[in-house]
């Protein structure tokens, strides 16, 4: 019996190829393709009066220039609103190329195709667009004020408006013994994968079919969207996803304007066309996230138990709403975390601004929700003079209350029901890991050295693995190798490794005999995509189910050949044999041969499956009814609901009293994603997530000026932290299985990022003694807060005042 792979810290099978430069990313393909470049709006809001291409026509090597005027039929219509929702008041989506108006800097106005990228950029530079500049709407304040509107025909900038309520929160707050109100602010950030977007299309004139390569998180989604735009049957569109250098959410958005324009042009020109996004384009023409403002009102009792919570969310969705209201819905629902407020009311307004669109970025609205809830917990504790962990503890859902129904509808349109989890234990573990109890003494020691340190804590719950479904196809070749295909795509997470681990166990073969393909509609056309931490839950389950079918068939076919009972057989080391008698059996490859009755023998192996090779049952057809030739199986996993992972982070920070520099001294994570398929990969995901959490808390922001120009659209000024900025991370796992899928797993891809802003704000505020209500925070921001605090514009934390009082008493100074 081979060792179990599920749960083992197996090294990623992808890495050798990728780290030795043998990966093939989008721009590595199509060396002979024409290059596409987009002329983009330099204005945040303008009417396009005229596009004059005359000058560009002189550029040697120019193939074509297209504007909206060249598009007809579905191509001339706005791009789809992918996720309709009844709360959407006025859902605007962009055109592939500007149809009269541009609504953000970077909006594509014209497409240039040339022999190579250099020439295409030369030509693009010579295209003169005449704009009538209109008033920009930048930031939530301007969007709410609606002095100017983003979209003609609207009277304000509200794209969507939704209220969800469980119980009467406002009455509960009014009746509560204690009340507080917080105004919170989170700025924009973005996924910024190493590889930007990219599309390469080839049109096959003879077959009337399209082959499309895209650096996307959804092959099947792009396929359906492009087929619809080009008026093709989906059967005539193949989408293949090459190696992808990171996604983090931005590549689940589809179809991008470029993603329909490139295949459209390839078909029209009868030549391969490729577009590779550059970094500046990625900043101004892909997607951002995070920008929200919250007003939180809470009513609570003397222990800090939440009796009512009322949250108003203003969400900046940018210029259009192609991805619907997924982000603010996730914020509104996941804000609750592991807690059970007595009553809850949440209302969001999703607002148009003349900036880049907002679509899910790792965490997808959760970091903002967790920020609101955890700031509230800290504020309650401070108000009551109680320990911050204790206040959280009294509000936690207990394990015996699972499954727990929060009474809301989640982002998948299904009830927000937590399936499993041990939240009190998670909290206990993180306190232990960070040294919560001993921190007071640590702080005093630091203070004696003139150093300022603080500790923070934050908990979260994350809905992962939503449906509708994902599929797996598993096939055993006559060579005994196992080929696995699933439709969702991989952006570096290690899907190929974990799917091979799962199938190796199910089929009793070595991992090295399993080959995995993702994101290729030729191999698995039915699929949804990679988002919402669903790879392991959905495709992991699907390939396990498919492998079980194959196993069942392998046993049946082998039993027939071995004249044994299938129940007496087992598969191990790639061989089917009678249990306890390893000699009495055959390789899976041979079983595959036998599973496909043959007329002709092609080689020694296939001879065994021909009609005279062995005695046959003349009363039954060679392929029994209801069966199919071949040793393969397909199955789908379609869960009832999302499964809910959870965790807690704690951090100790130091703030320099003079320079306001912020240093993370230690960072601890307790993480429960159900059963771990591969702890090494889960920890890698947590490390990356925490890095992005630190990024969003201390470094990254989108610096838009009042005109809607993005001032830091480069890696020089948009501060993705380097490895040198990321602290060592200590991780402890809890494994509470999910009852919602055959593997008991929950998603792990996004978790690390979720509590970043909340936990770091908590610690900085603890170090400084005054509240921190907006993130990210730079040293310059902290310095500004200190100034305002010194000027009496910000109140002190009550516990800081109390501590000062205590110290003053001890030293005999008056208690002021």
């Amino acid at each position: 019996m081979s060792a179990r792979m599920f749960g083992a810290p197996v090294q990623r099978t992808e890495d050798e190829r990728l780290l030795t430069g043998r990966g093939a990313y989008l721009d590595d393909l199509g060396a002979d393709a024409y290059a596409a470049v987009f002329v983009r709006s330099p204005h945040a809001h303008a009417r396009v009066r005229d596009v004059d291409v005359t000058d560009a026509l002189d550029v040697d090597g120019l193939i074509a220039v297209y504007t909206h005027e060249d598009l007809t039929g579905p191509m001339a219509e706005p791009l789809p609103l992918l996720l309709p929702h009844p709360c959407i008041v006025d859902g605007r989506t962009p055109h592939a190329l500007a149809a009269g108006y541009v609504h953000h800097v970077g909006a594509p106005v014209a497409m240039v195709v040339a022999r190579d990228r250099y020439l295409a950029e030369d030509a693009a530079e010579r295209i003169a667009v005449d704009y009538e500049v209109l008033a920009p709407v930048v930031g939530i304040e301007a969007a709410v004020a609606a002095e100017h509107v983003v979209h003609a025909g609207m009277s304000d900038n509200v794209a969507a408006h939704l209220v969800q309520e469980v119980g009467d929160a406002r009455a509960a707050i009014a009746a509560a013994p204690h009340r507080l109100e917080l105004d919170l602010d989170i700025e924009r950030s973005a996924c910024t994968p190493m590889e930007g977007r990219g599309v390469y299309a080839r049109w096959d004139e003879a077959g009337g079919s399209l082959r499309l390569y895209s650096s996307t998180q959804t092959a099947s989604g792009v396929r359906a969207a492009v087929a619809a735009k080009l008026g093709l049957d989906v059967g005539r569109v193949e989408v293949v996803v090459p190696d992808v250098g990171g996604g983090f959410g931005v590549k689940i958005m589809h179809p991008w304007p470029e993603e329909v324009m490139v295949p459209w042009a390839a078909r029209r020109l009868g030549h391969g066309v490729k577009w590779t996004e550059d970094r500046r384009e990625h900043f101004i023409a892909a997607a951002h996230e995070r920008g929200q403002r919250h007003t939180v009102r809470a009513g609570f009792d003397d222990e800090g138990r939440l009796l009512g919570l009322d949250v108003e969310i203003l969400h900046d969705n940018g210029a259009y709403l192609p991805y619907g209201v997924i982000v603010p819905i996730v914020t509104s629902t996941q804000l609750l975390g592991p807690y059970k407020p007595g009553a809850y009311r949440v209302e969001f307004r999703s607002l148009y601004t003349t900036t880049v669109i907002v679509t899910p970025y790792r965490g997808a609205g959760r970091p903002q929700g967790v920020f609101a809830m955890e700031r509230t917990m800290d504020a309650i504790a401070d108000r009551l003079g109680r320990d911050r962990a204790e206040v959280r503890e009294v509000n936690l859902i207990r394990p015996d209350e699972m499954p727990y129904d929060q009474g809301l509808l989640f982002q998948d349109g299904r009830p927000l029901v937590y399936d499993s989890g041990d939240y009190p234990r998670t909290l206990r573990m993180v306190k232990e890991l960070i040294g919560w109890e001993g921190f007071a003494a640590e702080r005093e020691r630091a203070r004696a050295e003139g150093r300022r340190i603080g500790i923070g804590l934050a908990c979260y719950v994350e809905g992962t693995g939503p449906g509708p479904y994902e599929g797996g196809h598993v096939q055993v070749g006559t060579d005994g190798r196992v080929r696995v295909a699933t439709g969702l795509t991989s952006q570096g997470q290690g899907h190929h490794t974990i799917l091979a681990q799962i199938v190796a166990d199910e089929l009793g073969v070595a991992m090295s005999d399993v080959e995995v393909t993702t994101g290729d509609t030729r191999r698995m056309p039915y699929s949804v995509g990679t988002f919402a931490s669903r790879g392991a839950v959905m495709s992991g389950s699907a390939v396990a189910l498919a492998a079980r079918k194959v196993r069942e068939k392998a046993l049946r076919v082998a039993a027939d050949a071995l004249e044994a009972d299938p129940g007496d057989l087992e598969i191990a080391g790639g061989r089917v044999h009678v249990r306890g008698v390893p000699g009495a059996g055959m390789d899976l490859g041979t079983v595959a041969v036998l599973s496909n009755p043959l007329r002709y023998a092609f080689d020694e192996a296939s001879r065994a499956a021909t009609q005279f090779a062995r005695p046959a049952d003349h009363a039954a057809p060679p392929v029994p009814e209801g069966d199919a030739p071949g040793l393969e199986g397909t199955d789908f996993h379609s869960p009832l609901r999302s499964t809910f992972a959870n965790g807690a982070h704690a951090v100790v920070v130091e703030t320099d009293p003079e320079t306001a520099e912020i240093t993370i001294l230690r960072y601890c994570v307790v993480h429960d994603c159900g059963r771990l398929v591969n702890p090494l990969i889960v920890e890698g995901q947590i490390h990356g997530g925490v890095a992005q959490g630190v990024a969003g808390a201390l470094y990254e922001r989108m610096a838009y000026d009042a005109d809607g120009q993005l001032l830091n659209a480069s890696f020089m000024d948009f501060l993705v932290p380097y490895a040198s900025e990321i602290p060592p991370i200590r991780i402890a796992h809890l494994e509470t299985p999910s009852p919602l899928n055959p593997l008991g797993v929950k998603g792990a891809g996004e978790a690390g990022v979720i509590p970043g802003a909340a936990v770091i704000a908590s610690a900085i505020e603890d170090a400084e003694g005054f509240p921190v209500r907006s993130m990210p925070i730079s040293p310059s921001d902290l310095f500004g807060l200190r100034r305002r605090f010194a000027a009496g514009e910000i109140p002190p934390l009550r516990r800081a005042e109390r501590a000062r009082g205590r110290r003053a008493n001890e030293t005999g100074e008056p208690d002021v």
Binding site: Y118, E125, E658, T659, D717, L719, S724, P779, S780, F783
Partner: protein, 301 residues
């Protein structure tokens, strides 16, 4: 992000380079390490019709140390200058500044002279040259001149080089005996251009009293800005000198600006704090330098 078309020249002798430069005039640009120029070309912020690549001019790839100081040739990479022991012994401030320039991979390609010419007000080496009172040797087809650091910088990313001039070498003079230096800066991420940076120099006289105290500032003015701060600490022994007062003095003479990473007020505050830190460190280094160079009086007897 692809550059507009240009003619590429790769001269193998200085004379050829100067001829091409003379012919192309304002349409030509010298390509050294490319760490600043190539991004500008790719973003189409610069569009010279001719690039004159000086990477084949081996004669410029040198670092020379003598009694006068350190001469850095135009092809000497930051990394090479940083690693040069005798240069670091002669002028410790070179290495103190260079280790703050970007990241090792960039220092492997970028040249120190390129950085001096590029005149970024946030760059370290122009501040070093300015603080030490160094100069740059410029040659053209029509002649040669030496420009003092004080005259070199005209504005942000603007030096006084003529279009036909090539900087062949930078001269960093040895500081006076009894001098210590320090370079402190705060950057948002390790290796980034500084939000505020201070290069400081303190000279002690024979009685171990402060005789000179100067600082040069990055990211605080359109050009590297040198302040003489002696009045705050003159004649004091290093351990009682009021470097905080020197910090306040500096702050009063600086007028930084806001940008997306820091407010002007924060920058000014940092200048005050970092000035004190840098001067204190420089003074300690000066004490150390004197201790090392002078025979120990007790041992000698």
């Amino acid at each position: 992000m692809k550059p507009p078309p240009f003619h590429y020249h790769a001269p193998t002798t200085l004379a050829d380079a100067l001829t091409v430069l003379g012919e192309t005039g304002p349409h030509g640009k010298i390509l050294a390490g490319g760490q600043s120029l190539i991004p500008l070309l790719n973003m189409r912020l610069a569009a010279p019709a001719h690039l004159i690549d000086i990477n084949r001019l081996a004669e410029l790839d040198r670092v020379d140390v003598d009694d006068g100081g350190v001469r850095v040739g135009a092809l000497a990479r930051h990394a090479r200058v940083e690693a040069d022991r005798s240069a670091a012994e002669a002028i410790p401030l070179l290495r103190q500044g260079l280790r703050l320039v970007a990241h090792p991979v960039i220092r492997n390609r970028g040249t120190t002279v390129g950085s001096l010419v590029h005149a970024d007000p946030s760059a370290e080496m122009p501040a070093v040259l300015a603080l030490l009172g160094g100069s740059l040797d410029l040659v053209s087809a029509s002649g040669r001149r030496t420009v003092a650091a004080a005259d070199l910088y005209v504005g942000p990313l603007e030096s006084c080089l003529r279009a036909d001039e090539l900087a062949v070498c930078a001269r960093f003079p040895r500081p006076a005996p009894g001098t210590g230096t320090a370079f402190v800066e705060i950057a948002r991420r390790r290796g980034d251009y500084a939000v505020c940076g201070v290069a400081a120099l303190v000279t002690l006289d024979d009685d171990l009293r402060v005789a000179a105290a100067r600082a040069a500032y990055l990211s605080m003015a359109p050009v590297p800005h040198v302040l003489d701060l002696i009045e705050a600490v003159a004649g004091r022994p290093p351990d009682t000198a009021d470097f905080a007062a020197a910090g306040r003095l500096a702050r009063g003479r600086l007028d930084p600006e806001d940008d997306i990473h820091a407010t002007a007020e924060y920058r000014a505050h940092l200048a005050e704090v970092l000035t004190a830190r840098a001067l204190r460190e420089a003074a300690e280094a000066a004490v150390g330098a004197l201790g090392a160079s002078r025979p120990d009086p007790e041992r000698a007897t």
